[in-house]
């Protein structure tokens, strides 16, 4: 698993990349009550707002970590947004994508570097 400064995690398996938010990010958000996912098959650019996530308190956006195509979304989150708090780095992944330029992931952090980043 690799991590971004936007508090997202990516798991790279072959050319399929699963994306979610970190435990730290889920804690900061508080109780998640609504998740709006992108459509399968959409092409996204790095930093596009692809997911809307709302806690009791406020709405936040999840950005595409890299350029690519969304190939699958986690529909279970729509019915059960609280999964984001229960298992952010497991069952509550947001989407899977294919990268157009895998080198965009070169600067992402490993677990140790991310832990240091969040202090």
């Amino acid at each position: 698993m690799i991590f971004t400064e936007e508090h997202e995690w990516l798991r790279v398996e072959g050319d399929e990349i699963t994306v979610g938010i970190t435990i730290h990010a889920a804690e900061q958000l508080g109780d998640v009550v609504f998740v709006e996912l992108p459509s399968d098959g959409v092409t996204v650019s790095k930093d596009d707002e692809v997911v809307v996530i709302e806690s009791v308190k406020a709405a936040s956006d999840i950005l595409a970590p890299i350029d690519g195509e969304i190939i699958e979304v986690n529909g279970a989150l729509t019915d059960n947004p609280g999964m984001v708090n229960d298992d952010p780095q497991g069952d509550a992944w947001f989407f899977k994508m294919k990268a157009s330029d895998p080198s965009q992931m070169d600067d992402f952090m490993d677990e140790a570097a991310y832990q240091k980043f969040i202090g």
Partner: protein, 374 residues
């Protein structure tokens, strides 16, 4: 951050893991480790303890109760003279345009009037009262008392373990209790839609009292986040969001707060700032009304969401003033203002969320039935 005020419970909030945020010039706990959702549900099922010491407490005194009450009626459209000793009422300060300058609670304490106002408005409220009422009435800001709310179906049993007399109080009663030897002023009221108390206690005793209450089974510390979702489900206004200097009490659907004696045709009608406007609104109606709004999808409609009368095109008919997720309702809840012709319950409207119009229905308030001990 260092210029933020702290309440006497500040150290206790930190010890309990409260996440402190700036609010109306104070550092206040928005939530504790339990989180907003569980804190909200806990308050509705057991009891929550809220630090509301940032609110302003003011005592008004004069030559007699009648003198104090008659003077205060010049500032609020409420029946003050008719308030029995040991009773409390909800009130509004109005301006010359009939707009709402603040909402408040006032209680009769013998010949004195005890007033609790919003934190963000307290300096202006105190100035308003001093300028309008002194020297006839002495306006004394109370700077050395904390305010602790205990709310929820378990509140009465909890507070009664410290003074059985608490159980005898009815909704909106006000009086002195001795909570485990600590003398307090308590009202049986609150702002969550639940039964409970608001307890004014000296700064010196506040932490000991809070600890004593929190030690009772079922009482948990609850932050401002849950306080907001609780009051929204209860259909209660947040000053600055749902009511402000530009909304009059009739537009705000707060007609109930103005007793008959102060309404058109009443024995003491008018006589407060903006009375002509409010009287006219009472008789002739208003262009817009505050209503409950129940979004029909799972997407919360936040403050500022624009409301339309059609899914495409159509007219802009209002906007949301408070909107969130209601943990007890289990879905999004909101309130806002709509043109009066759209204010009847079940009117279908559309709220624009991130560029998409989503269905929302005008709903009866409160979303969650009040649980008061009348």
């Amino acid at each position: 951050m260092s210029d933020l005020h702290q309440t006497p419970l500040y150290d206790l909030h930190l010890e309990l893991g409260g996440k402190m945020v700036p609010f109306a010039g104070y550092s206040m706990p928005v939530q504790y480790p339990m989180g907003v959702m569980k804190e909200h549900l806990h308050t509705r099922s057991h009891a929550g303890l809220f630090d509301v010491s940032h609110m302003g407490q003011v005592m008004l005194s004069g030559a007699s109760w009648e003198a104090v009450a008659a003077a205060f009626e010049r500032l609020v459209p409420m029946d003050v003279l008719g308030l029995a000793d040991g009773r409390q009422r909800y009130g509004l300060f109005t301006n010359d345009a009939g707009g709402i300058e603040d909402d408040l609670m006032f209680a009769r304490r013998g010949d004195d009037l005890f007033v609790v106002v919003n934190a963000a408005c307290k300096a202006a409220d105190i100035a308003r009262m001093k300028s309008a009422l002194e020297p006839e009435v002495t306006v004394t800001p109370i700077m050395d008392r904390a305010l602790i709310a205990v709310q929820g179906p378990g509140a009465a049993a909890a507070v009664a373990t410290l003074d059985p007399a608490a159980a005898e109080m009815r909704f909106m009663d006000f009086g002195t209790l001795g909570l485990d030897g600590i003398s307090v002023w308590a009202s049986r009221s609150g702002y969550t839609g639940e039964d409970g108390y608001e307890i004014s206690v000296s700064d010196a005793d506040a932490e000991a009292l809070a600890r004593r209450l929190l030690a009772i089974d079922g009482v948990e510390a609850i932050g401002l986040g849950a306080r907001d979702s609780l009051r929204l489900e209860a259909g209660l206004c947040l000053y600055g969001n749902d009511i402000d200097a530009q909304t009059n009490p009739i537009e705000a659907s707060l007609n109930w707060a103005i007793q008959k004696v102060r309404r058109p045709g009443g024995d003491r009608e008018g006589g407060y700032p903006g009375a002509e406007v409010v009287q006219k609104a009472f008789e002739g109606g208003v262009m817009r009304k505050r209503v409950g709004l129940a979004p029909e999808t799972r997407a919360p409609m936040r403050e500022g969401t624009q409301l339309y009368d059609a899914e495409e095109g159509g007219r802009l008919v209002g906007s949301v003033t408070s909107g969130s997720f209601g943990p007890t309702v289990g879905g999004p809840v909101a309130m806002g203002y709509v043109g009066s012709e759209y204010a009847s319950v079940d009117t279908a409207l559309w709220g624009e969320v991130r560029g998409k119009r989503l269905p929302v229905r005008v709903a009866k308030l409160p979303f969650v039935a009040a649980n008061f001990k009348r």
